[in-house]
C-alpha cells in the first residue's frame, strides 16, 4: 500500500486518467457484452465463498436467537405461515381451475382437458447466495447455473409466487432480476375482474400495476396473476394482491398498488422453470424480415 501510495503521489493525474480510462473501457466493453462472461465467471468463482458466508451467517443468527419457548413459537409461526401461504396459492389455483373449467364447458370442441400443463413445468431448485450490494437495484444470485440447465429469461418462482427472471448465467450461478426492480415489467391480469395491465417494480420495493383500461373494474383485495401476454412469462403465476386503486377520470388508464406475495427480503429457496421458453418477438420479427428480403 505504501509503495502504491508513493507511486500515486508522484503520478496523481496519470493514475486518475488511467482509472477514468479503465472505467470507460469497462463501460464500453460491458455495453457491447464482452464483460458478461467475465462477470458471471467471477461470480461463479466466488459463489462457494458466498455460500459459506451465507451458511455461517444463518448459523450465527440461529445460535443467537433466544432459546426454548421463543424458538418453539418462532417455529410454530413459520410453520403456520408456510401452511397459510400454501393454502392461499392453492386457493388461487383452484379458482383458476374452476374458471377455466367454465370456459372449457363452453368450448365444445376443446379437446385438451389438462389446464395445469401450462404452469407445472420441470424446475430446478436453487438457493439464494447473495443480493445486489447496492440500494438501487434488486437482484438476487442463486447457486445454480448453465451446468444445471439454467438459461437467460427463465422465470423464477417460490411457493408464494413469482420472483422474477434470470438475466445472467454463469457456469455455477445465475443472476435473477426481481419483480420489484424498476427495470422489471410483466403483463398481468386480476383474477376476479380479469382486468389487464402491466406490473412494474418500484424503487421502494413495491409493485405498481398500470395500463389498466378505464372501463375495467379493479378493487383492493384482487389477486394479480401473470397473464402470459408477450411470451416472457408463463400465465397464472401469482404476483400479488391489489392494495389501492388510483383512478382519475382524466387519465387514459387506471393504476393500482400491488403488495407482492413473495417476501423479497427473505428469499432462500427458488425454483427456476426450465421448460418454459420465452418468446423473443423482436428477434422473430427480425428473422421474418430477413426471410422476406
Amino acid at each position: 500500500m505504501l509503495i502504491l501510495t508513493r507511486l500515486f503521489v508522484l503520478n496523481r493525474s496519470l493514475y486518475l486518467g488511467f482509472f477514468i480510462a479503465l472505467v470507460l473501457l469497462g463501460f464500453v466493453l460491458d455495453q457491447l457484452g464482452y464483460l458478461t462472461s467475465f462477470r458471471t465467471n467471477l461470480q461463479s468463482a466466488i459463489s462457494p465463498i458466498q455460500q459459506s458466508i451465507t451458511l455461517t451467517v444463518e448459523d450465527l443468527v440461529g445460535q443467537t436467537t433466544l432459546p426454548t419457548d421463543v424458538v418453539v413459537l418462532q417455529n410454530r409461526v413459520t410453520e403456520l405461515e408456510t401452511v397459510n401461504n400454501t393454502l392461499v396459492v392453492e386457493n388461487v389455483r383452484l379458482r383458476e381451475i374452476e374458471r377455466e373449467n367454465e370456459q372449457l364447458r363452453q368450448l365444445l370442441n376443446y379437446t385438451r382437458s389438462n389446464p395445469q400443463t401450462n404452469y407445472q413445468p420441470s424446475t430446478v431448485i436453487g438457493r439464494s447466495i447473495g443480493v445486489d450490494p447496492t440500494n438501487l437495484l434488486y437482484f438476487v444470485y442463486v447457486d445454480v447455473g448453465a451446468r444445471d440447465g439454467i438459461a437467460r429469461n427463465m422465470p423464477v418462482i417460490t411457493d408464494r409466487g413469482l420472483v422474477g427472471r434470470v438475466v445472467a448465467v454463469g457456469p455455477n450461478s445465475a443472476q435473477v432480476l426481481m419483480l420489484i426492480d424498476p427495470a422489471s415489467a410483466i403483463n398481468a391480469i386480476t383474477q376476479n375482474s380479469r382486468a389487464t395491465g402491466v406490473v412494474r417494480g418500484n424503487i421502494d420495493g413495491t409493485l405498481i400495476m398500470d395500463r389498466i383500461p378505464q372501463g375495467d373494474t379493479i378493487s383492493p383485495g384482487d389477486i394479480v396473476l401473470s397473464s402470459g401476454l408477450g411470451g416472457n412469462f408463463p400465465n397464472k403465476l401469482v404476483i400479488g394482491q391489489v392494495t389501492e386503486v388510483l383512478q382519475r377520470d382524466q387519465d387514459l388508464f387506471q393504476t393500482a398498488r400491488v403488495r407482492p406475495t413473495v417476501d423479497f427480503g427473505k428469499l432462500e429457496t427458488l425454483l427456476m422453470i426450465t421448460s418454459f421458453e420465452p418468446i423473443d418477438f423482436e428477434a422473430e420479427l427480425l428473422n421474418q424480415r430477413e426471410d422476406d428480403n
Partner: protein, 140 residues
C-alpha cells in the same frame, strides 16, 4: 434497504489517511460494486471515486486535517451525493426511477442509516489506523 458499508469504509479511510491512499480503496471498492451488482460497469466506480474526491476536498478545506468528529458527519451528504449520482447515471442508461420516491424511500433513509453505522465503523478504523501509524494519530 441496508447501510452502504463499502461507502462508509472508503470514506472513513479517505478521512483518516487522505486521498492518496483512499483513492485506491475507492477504485477497488467501486470496481467490486460494479462487478457484483446488476448495473452497467463503471456506474459505481465513478460514483464512489467522485464521492471520495469531494469528501476529501470538503474535509480538508472546511474542517482541516486534524479534526475527526465533524468529518464523520460528512457521510450524510456524501451518501446523498453517491446514491443520487449513481441513480442519475442509471436513469440516463434507461433504468426507470422516480426522483421523489428515490429521495424519500432510499436516499434519505440510507443516509441516516449510514450516519448511524459510520460512528462504530469509523471508530474501529481509527483504532486500526493508530495501530498502523501511531505518530500520525489525529485529534478528536
Amino acid at each position: 434497504m441496508h447501510p452502504d458499508f463499502v461507502l462508509i469504509v472508503t470514506l472513513s479511510w479517505v478521512i483518516l489517511r487522505g486521498l492518496d491512499e483512499g483513492v485506491f480503496i475507492a477504485i477497488f471498492a467501486g470496481i467490486g460494486l460494479d462487478i457484483f451488482s446488476g448495473a452497467s460497469f463503471g456506474i459505481f466506480s465513478l460514483s464512489i471515486g467522485l464521492t471520495a474526491l469531494l469528501t476529501n476536498l470538503v474535509h480538508d478545506r472546511v474542517f482541516g486535517t486534524n479534526n475527526l468528529i465533524l468529518p464523520a458527519a460528512l457521510i450524510l451528504p456524501a451518501t446523498v451525493f453517491f446514491i443520487g449520482f449513481a441513480a442519475f447515471l442509471l436513469i440516463q442508461l434507461g433504468h426507470p426511477m422516480s426522483w421523489d420516491t428515490l429521495l424519500t424511500n432510499i436516499i434519505l433513509p440510507v443516509a441516516l442509516l449510514n450516519t448511524a453505522v459510520m460512528v462504530p465503523v469509523f471508530f474501529t478504523l481509527y483504532i486500526f489506523n493508530r495501530l498502523l501509524t501511531p505518530s500520525e494519530a489525529l485529534t478528536w
